[in-house]
């Protein structure tokens, strides 16, 4: 929908407005040809260039896995780069660790704060600086922090333990802690992910103030309205490469969304057979789920998944998908609302019971949930179904390892898991083979509903293709598939319907045939359409 006007604001409470303050155009920070290759051969960054002027707020935009965080970890001395140069004020610098970076005035505020919950804000801010606990030196330190608070507007009650402060205030303490190291380049990684709209607006005010004072700010984000509201320039990364750098003033949300999601590179998948019967298998109604912080991560979500359908949830990770899956698979309670599997309520039900009701769950984080790395292939093949009578002897309780072996061997063969033996520990397999075993185990349950979270993340092309085909087989056999994936191409190739999730809400549901890559990109970035029911 190029040409149509899209409002610049997405998140509530966010003011539209021109970027703050004038900026000197001369380059101060320069990253040239940054390349990062991980030991396993993954090329996370490929000759990335980035430049920023003094006092500039520079947005770093991209999908999951685009390389934003990796690039900034290199700049803050956390990760070493494979090749490339970093210059500040024209002089090349070497960053071996975070102390080197701080010495050059580069500080990063991470998504997950490094604060001691039981210490006061002041103790946290001074932590690691060898600050005295009392006496005149401490008074001086306190005065210095107070001055910093006055200069920046980052007010924090200094004598209250961090754990008693709201998230937004904790973040201020974290920023103060970084600024107290005389930082002239402040990197913020998705700083608004955990903030309320009011806290977000306050943070933006502070960042504008800092920018006017000459601090350069790099903002990692995937939210288009934030980029448009706050930054002077924006660099878009995709698959570890720079797509382009634009002055924000001339850019539109559509341009940026297009740059972010890129051209279609749909993976080939198996033929989609027409399904005559529409019959809901999973019904979710007005479901709200709390995140770990106690605030709603899934907000009032409603949708249905029919048999013979792949219903995909697209979105940048961290927008409530994980919590939604957990609530539907018995791992997290629902705060309100309903979910039914074949007419039976499933919220708050034990996973084992759900598996018996016809649920298969391919977990998002297979290492954490789906497998036990130290146990053998055989033992992993019955995780979750180990209580079923078919794996037990007549003698009460005992496991029948002969039957388990047969079953494991069957899964290994049918799903083409490559392993030297059934007793090989799971951790000795490649990621693709581990995932094939997990997927094989789940799909062997003859499920009515398959919930698949990021099923191909981190897999090689061949393994990913196998797993996509298996999901399509499930659909063609008349089972319901709920696919959650941050890979837009995968979603577009597999889905019969796509729901886009942003900040815990389903923003729109699109039918196959009306899939519009750019519109989905905008929705993923928080622009367009309000909450929708599917």
């Amino acid at each position: 929908m190029p040409g149509s006007s899209v409002p610049r604001t997405g998140a509530p409470g966010q003011r539209p407005g021109p970027p703050a303050g004038p900026v000197q155009s001369d380059t101060w920070l320069e990253m040239r040809g940054i390349t990062k290759v991980y030991p396993d051969g993954t090329r996370a960054l490929d000759k990335v260039d980035l430049a920023a002027a003094k006092g500039e707020i520079h947005g770093l935009l991209g999908e999951n896995g685009a390389g934003k965080s990796t690039l900034m970890k290199i700049l803050s001395g956390i990760l070493p780069m494979t090749s490339g140069r970093i210059l500040i004020g024209g002089r090349e610098i070497a960053l071996r660790n975070t102390n080197d970076a701080l010495a050059h005035g580069i500080g990063m505020v991470h998504q997950h704060y490094s604060l001691v919950p039981t210490f006061t804000a002041l103790d946290n801010i001074l932590l690691g600086r060898g600050a005295p606990l009392s006496g005149p030196a401490r008074s001086a330190a306190r005065a210095r922090i107070k001055r910093l608070m006055d200069d920046t507007g980052l007010y924090v009650p200094l004598d209250v333990p961090i754990e008693q402060l709201p998230i937004g205030t904790r973040q201020r303490a974290e920023i103060l802690k970084t600024l107290d190291r005389n930082v002239s380049l402040l990197i913020l990684d998705e700083p608004t992910a955990v903030l309320t709209p009011q806290e977000t607006e306050q943070l933006f005010q502070v960042l504008r103030t800092l920018s006017r004072g000459g601090t350069t700010i790099i903002l990692i984000t995937h939210k288009l309205p934030e980029v448009l509201a706050l930054t002077h320039r924006v660099t878009v990364l995709r698959h570890g490469r720079v797509v382009g750098t634009r002055p924000t003033a001339g850019a539109t949300a559509q341009d940026l969304a297009r740059m972010m999601v890129g051209a279609e590179r749909l993976p080939a998948v198996k033929e989609r057979r027409p399904q005559a019967i529409v019959e809901p298998v999973l019904r979710v109604a007005e479901l709200t789920v709390l995140g770990d912080g106690g605030t709603p991560a899934v907000r009032n979500v409603t949708f249905e998944v029919s048999r013979g359908e792949i219903f995909a949830i697209a979105g940048v990770t961290g927008n409530g998908q994980t919590e939604l899956i957990e609530a539907l698979t018995g791992l997290r309670p629902a705060a309100s609302g309903y979910a039914y599997l074949l007419g039976q309520p499933i919220t708050g039900v034990n996973p084992r019971k759900l598996y018996e009701m016809g649920l298969a769950h391919i977990p998002e984080d297979r290492h954490r949930l789906g497998m036990v790395a130290q146990l053998s292939i055989m033992e992993n093949s019955i995780l979750g179904v180990h209580f079923q009578p078919r794996f037990r002897r007549a003698m009460p309780g005992t496991l029948h390892w002969g039957r388990v072996r047969k079953y494991a061997r069957d899964v290994v063969r049918r799903f083409n898991v490559i392993t030297p033996s059934l007793r090989t520990p799971m951790r000795s397999l490649s990621g693709g083979n581990q995932q094939k075993l997990v997927v094989g185990r789940e799909l062997s349950k003859s499920p009515a509903l398959v919930v698949a979270g990021q099923p191909t993340r981190g897999l090689d092309v061949a393994a990913a293709a196998t797993i996509r085909d298996l999901l399509m087989d499930m659909r063609n056999e008349g089972r319901a598939v709920l696919l959650v994936s941050a890979d837009l191409d995968e979603v577009l190739a597999l889905a019969d319907r796509i729901a886009v999730m942003y900040e815990g809400e389903i923003r729109a549901v699109l039918e196959r045939g009306q899939f519009d890559r750019e519109r989905i990109g905008l929705l993923m970035g928080g622009v367009g359409d309000g909450p929708a029911a599917g």
Binding site: A193, T322, L383, S446
Partner: protein, 386 residues
């Protein structure tokens, strides 16, 4: 998509390959243990050489004292008996991911229960022995379930609570042994258990009784539980990946409680074997000296036995041998008891080192992983244990 019946011949051949693999793994572990033991003996020899003792005669004495004649073997086995059980009490919990430091207290209340039931309930022998073991096991289970319950419901760390329960048990036993259960004829100990429940020596004049079979039987039963039942499977999953346990539909609360209960029973029965299965006392000393530090020694026994029930039996016998060989080391080589203890300590450290190192390495890897992988503020909490 139900599993098809498989090809049995292939199953056999892959089964054989798997069995070879198991044998190879076991041989590797055994080799590692022997190497560590040899290293410990060499360092011990060097120490004795420096201190001016004849280490060849000392080790000769150690061997003779531990295995030189049937009575020495019986002595070794008698010392091993309670260590097998307290070793299991630690090892089982460790398999499920918990540190049960409370074996000492669980054993102490088990011994108390054994004295009470054994001395005051007159029933025919087999029933009486069974009753004593049951009461001791139940007492140990109660002692371990309280910390388990606190852990499961309130998140109280089990190391803290089990240590506190050790002290409660210690003073409770001191009090009861002096004021309630003491023998009017013999003030230094409690009343003796009735003759019907006293397990007879396997060999006239030796310390070992049928208690060794009770201990070994419990070890085998726990081995069976861990590797051949769904509950044991869940315990092992709990110890290796607690999140996967929830995914598998098991309740972490139940797993904690079951594991601690069984561990407490093993430790409680260890207390009972010291009362009914260790001639000639058949009572609890007022200073609890016939319990000693057996509960704490169980931790070392379990670590050296790689927290595997069969390994724990072997490890306990090794500890027993060190104990019963100590006397002959002193007699034959004139090595003072303190030196004997130092040499024992060196051997034990050398044996425990690989296991301790793997625990440290594991936590280092975990910490490194936590540092290199970005943890978003919204990511679900990683298991906050250990």
């Amino acid at each position: 998509m139900d599993p098809r019946p498989g090809d049995d011949q292939a199953a056999e051949s892959s089964g054989a390959a798997d069995r070879r693999r198991v044998v190879r793994d076991a041989a590797g572990t055994a080799g590692q243990v022997l190497l560590a033991a040899a290293l410990g003996l060499i360092i011990g020899a060097v120490l004795m050489e420096i201190a001016g003792y004849d280490w060849t005669r000392a080790y000769q004495g150690l061997w003779l004292g531990a295995f030189g004649d049937p009575w020495s073997v019986a002595d070794t086995l008698a010392s091993a008996t309670p260590l097998i059980l307290t070793g299991l009490a630690f090892g089982l919990c460790f398999r499920a991911g918990y540190f049960n430091i409370g074996g000492q207290g669980q054993m102490t209340v088990g011994a108390l229960a054994a004295v009470v039931v054994g001395a005051y309930i007159p029933v025919p022998t087999p029933v009486a022995v069974f009753l004593v073991l049951l009461a001791a096991g139940a007492a140990g289970a109660v002692w371990s379930l309280t910390p388990a319950f606190l852990k499961a419901t309130r998140g109280v760390h089990e190391v803290i609570s089990t240590i506190m329960f050790n002290w409660i048990a210690f003073y409770l036993a001191l009090y009861l042994a002096f004021y309630s259960l003491n023998d009017p004829q013999s003030a230094e100990r409690t009343v003796r258990v009735l003759p019907g429940v006293r397990l007879a020596p396997l060999l006239a004049g030796a310390d070992a009784t049928a208690a060794i079979f009770i201990a070994a039987g419990i070890a085998l039963a726990l081995y069976w539980l861990l590797w051949h039942t769904p509950w044991g499977y869940e315990m092992r999953v709990a110890g290796l990946n607690p999140s996967a346990l929830r995914y598998a539909g098991a309740s972490p609360v139940w797993t904690i409680n079951w594991t601690f209960m069984l561990a407490g029973m093993a430790a409680g029965i260890a207390g009972a074997t010291q009362i009914i299965g260790r001639p000639p006392t058949y009572a609890l000393y007022g200073d609890l000296s016939n319990l000693g530090d057996l509960g704490f020694d169980g931790i070392a026994v379990a670590l050296i036995g790689r927290n595997h029930p069969i390994g724990i039996i072997a490890s306990a016998v090794f500890f027993g041998a060190l104990g019963s060989g100590a006397r002959m080391m002193q007699i034959m080589a004139g090595v003072p008891l303190d030196m004997v203890r130092i040499v024992h300590g060196v051997i034990i450290i050398a044996l425990a080192a690989p296991e301790v190192w793997s625990i440290i390495a594991k936590s280092l890897v975990r910490r490194r992983a936590a540092r290199t992988e970005p943890v978003s503020a919204q990511a679900p909490n990683s298991p906050a244990r250990r």
